[in-house]
């Protein structure tokens, strides 16, 4: 049923598709650092490699930012609503949490931006 040419093409296709998986299914590079923007000061770049807790002095007081396992979050803030804390962990490129009363913003930097929303 299969000619020699058929078998050759079939084998070549299987190899070709295996290569496609190898090329297109590489894991994405994870985010490497966050930017902390405090008021009108220039952004401060902090690596996500090292687990640490940072205190950043804003307009109202100290905001505490925790970095752990390549993720970052607000854990304490002098503001009323605590929206920045409720934002939870940030780990993908483009994600951000802001404390507007204290004028502190953290964003995750990565080569690859995630989606804001997907709609079909």
């Amino acid at each position: 049923m299969l000619t020699r040419a058929d078998s050759t093409v079939l084998a070549a296709s299987v190899v070709f598709i295996a290569c496609l998986y190898a090329v297109f299914w590489q894991p994405h590079a994870t985010a490497s650092h966050i930017n902390i923007i405090n008021g009108n000061e220039p952004p401060q770049q902090v690596s996500l490699e090292q687990d640490q807790v940072l205190d950043v002095k804003g307009r109202l007081g100290n905001s505490r930012i925790q970095i752990q396992q390549r993720r970052a979050r607000f854990i304490a803030s002098p503001c009323n609503n605590k929206l920045c804390i409720y934002q939870g962990w940030l780990q993908h490129g483009g994600e951000l949490a802001a404390c507007l009363p204290n004028r502190i913003l953290i964003t995750v930097k990565s080569n690859r931006r995630g989606f804001d929303a997907i709609n079909y």
């Binding site: 049923m1 299969l2 000619t3 020699r4 040419a5 058929d6 093409v9 079939l10 296709s13 299987v14 070709f16 598709i17 496609l20 998986y21 297109f24 299914w25 690859r112 989606f115």
Partner: protein
């Protein structure tokens, strides 16, 4: 007015009509993902190529895309453009394959090449014309795997059909 038609014209019309029927039947089946369908109309193109020549296959395939889209209602929509790009690419691959020296391909080889050519062309059109996003590329290996499976299935069906045509086996 009377247009002179040749035997070949009639043959192409019959084959195209058959392919269009399959195309429409297939369009009515639900698909888990847009753009994924078995492409059984491909069988007719392969049969046209094996029983007659590449010229007949090209006519049948392009007529199927044109008339099929008119009947389904997708003429000149993105679906039609993807379908046409896919058909043109698969015909190019078939044309090249049919001009290779040697004993040549059987139905499975041709069908496999056509399915892969179709999917690659269609994907390139989708990527460059409609959704130029990196995320789409992750779908490419999956689509090509499906094209491989459907290509072999269509080719096997074409092979079984050719076995039942006495003139072909004589």
């Amino acid at each position: 007015m009377h247009i002179q038609t040749t035997r070949e014209d009639h043959r192409i019309a019959w084959l195209a009509a058959l392919a269009i029927c399959i195309h429409i039947l297939e369009a009515s089946f639900p698909s888990p993902l847009p753009g994924i369908k078995p492409g059984l109309a491909n069988i007719i193109t392969i049969m046209a190529l094996l029983l007659f020549d590449i010229r007949t296959a090209i006519w049948v395939s392009l007529l199927r895309v044109l008339a099929g889209s008119l009947l389904v209602g997708s003429f000149l929509t993105p679906t039609f453009i993807l379908s046409l790009t896919g058909a043109i690419c698969s015909l190019l691959v078939l044309w090249l394959a049919s001009h290779l020296p040697g004993r040549g391909f059987g139905p499975v080889g041709y069908s496999l090449l056509a399915a892969q050519g179709h999917m690659a062309g269609q994907f390139a059109a989708a990527y460059y014309l409609f959704i130029p996003h990196q995320g789409l590329l992750r779908l490419f290996p999956v689509l090509m795997t499906l094209a491989l499976i459907f290509g072999v299935v269509s080719g096997t069906i074409a092979h079984a059909m050719l076995q039942r045509i006495p003139a072909h086996n004589a």
